[in-house]
Symmetry: C2
Subunit: 355 residues, 2 copies
């Protein structure tokens, strides 16, 4: 592989106010770009000033949606060091997504190097406040200019970064979710397990309907029977029922979340029983009736742990943990964010130090 | 609405050889562009020289796939006139797709005017050979630069055109299709009935597998039971069984094809029995065993009518019409292309004359 070319910006932007970062609104000074052609493979890797890209109007991504992406974060540690969190898992998942979408995979080491180098160059964009971070968004788009429906022969890999605020600006707070029984996100044999734009476009309508009804997120059911719980918006989902933590098994239509995997491993490390299996929505509402639904929470890179305080399914609405944060949810949040921020020990070796 | 601004190219491109057009490889000299913002609606409509577009790397279409598109053709008539075929149907379908994807709809008259004006300006790009045509591709992309998952507040509508060759360069020929029983294209509650990039990205893997096995197209089954026939690649599908023409009913996961609608209307006009209903793949293979599967064909803008000569489902392969073109398929092809090309009468008023 040729060496990575770096062209630094001559006009660094001014940094946004750390109290008003939000999510994915500001972008750092540089971006990584590499090109793929079927003859030459991935090539021309470069870090260049962040700015607009030029696409042919017939670029295949704009017509047939061949795209994959990832989402991960760089954290400023207690002593100024920079940490990633299990970056190899995101790269591995990106390659799985590529496989499903007919997109050429990348060399994992090359990709990790690209991420590290980009974060290093823009390290002054990693927020100082411990609860903030630099969100890293790698994505691959089909750039070949052609309207035939088939796998493209030309692609571009880009990595952009965005300083982001704490998901919960005023401390972790339970969210309310709406169990979606009309729209379907994914089905076995579809693309649900891949991280690709196409799974999100289809969810927007349901998300808007949930918002209209006062719920902040949609909980998706399986596409076949519309009974089995899949995931929440952009999070995987866990329930604590009668002392046991349960989460839907990876069935091919759920995104295999890095946070999900970390939560399962951490619970096992702690000796708390955790099971991956099919979970029906009836089962949860029944457990609630019996007073056994002790906690519910979503897991994802953005919020890490997101306690679920209320759920609506058809005509039934339930409250969980009465607006408080469950014990396991709180402990997981503190531990995982503690590891990410370099505040505590890292028993499972998840931190990846840059530089 | 402000008037349409026109900036003509000062460097017209040379035209490709009409014998080697293929599909969607060459593009005419101009394109139509309009912008949308949630404050101002659709605005800034313009026809400008065809060329690359500039997108922010964080443009939402590249991350969450909010996109819809259409496909239609302009035909050069026998006396040099220019015909569209039922353009109002495509515009209506585009608005339906917009609704499903959370994209703002367009004013149908404004859109039709844009298409006509663009085709007029590039009328020398409409091929002379009667079997060729100018393919018209309107599409809308979410351009707002933001990584939050929600409906965008900024969009661009583009219309590009491409001179295309006859789908069957050496006359209409039967295709062989592969009944897909692993991958799933769409499910009720999903986006199958919308014309959006996201339905195509998910099909590429199946399409490649079918090609590897020597089949030219995939026939999709329903996502739930994987028994009911939905559609073929980028065509709807019809079968003639024991004298009756049948086609899968519009169930919310099938694209409502303009050609499909035209075929049904034409068959009715001719007094040939035609039924829209659920059709299982078992039923077709059983009809074939009994010698009653008389014809099978796909319908779509690209090929108009595409006779199906062979079908494979699991371990079973069948031949239909022994490599010949069925009587109804041939008659439909001649009639619909005849109307498009202005060669014959237009009993159902489908031709739309430009200029
Ligand atoms: C659909 C979906 N499920 C789950 C997740 C959680 O995955 P991770 O923990 O890797 O962030 C995400 C997002 O990141 C997602 O988009
Ligand atoms: C998935 C799909 N089904 C059916 C069709 C046929 O529709 P129409 O007859 O409007 O071209 C198309 C394409 O055009 C398509 O992409």
């Amino acid at each position: 592989m040729e060496p990575l070319q770096v062209i630094r910006t001559s006009q660094p932007k001014s940094k946004p106010n750390e109290g008003e970062l939000g999510f994915g609104k500001y972008f750092s000074d540089h971006m990584f770009v590499a090109d793929y052609t079927s003859e030459r493979g991935w090539q021309n890797a470069r870090i260049i000033p962040y700015g607009p890209i030029s696409l042919e109007p017939s670029a295949m991504v704009l017509h047939y949606g061949q795209e994959v992406f990832e989402g991960m974060k760089a954290y400023r540690g207690m002593n100024g060091e920079i940490n990633l969190f299990r970056p190899e898992k995101n790269i591995q998942r990106m390659n799985m997504s590529c496989d499903r979408l007919g997109i050429p995979q990348v060399d994992p080491e090359w990709m990790l190097e690209a991420i590290c180098k980009l974060v290093e160059i823009d390290s002054d964009w990693i927020p100082q406040r411990v609860e903030n971070s630099l969100y890293i968004r790698p994505f691959i788009i089909a750039t070949e200019p052609c309207l035939g429906v088939r796998a493209a022969k030309e692609y571009q890999l880009l990595i952009i970064t965005s300083p982001v605020g704490a998901y919960y600006s005023s401390g972790m707070a339970p969210v309310s979710i709406y169990v979606e029984d009309h729209y379907v996100r994914a089905v076995r044999g579809g693309t649900g397990a891949a991280k690709t734009s196409i799974n999100y476009a289809s969810s927007i309508k349901a998300q808007e309907e949930a918002k209209r009804q006062g719920y902040s997120q949609v909980l998706w059911l399986d596409g076949i029977e519309q009974r089995y719980i899949e995931e929440v918006g952009s999070m995987n989902v866990f329930f604590k029922v009668d002392g046991e933590v349960i989460t839907p098994e990876l069935n091919g239509s759920i995104l295999p979340g890095v946070t999900r995997d970390s939560v399962i491993a951490m619970l096992k490390h702690w000796g708390i029983p955790v099971t991956e299996r099919k979970v029906t929505v009836e089962e949860l509402f029944e457990a609630h009736r019996q007073g056994k639904l002790e906690e519910a929470f979503g897991t994802g890179t953005a919020a890490v742990i997101s306690p679920i305080g209320a759920m609506k399914w058809g005509e039934q609405s339930i409250q969980i943990t009465e607006g408080h944060i469950g014990e396991v949810s709180g402990r997981l949040y503190d531990s995982i964010t503690g590891i990410q921020q370099g505040k505590i020990d890292d028993p499972l070796h998840w931190r990846y130090l840059i530089g």
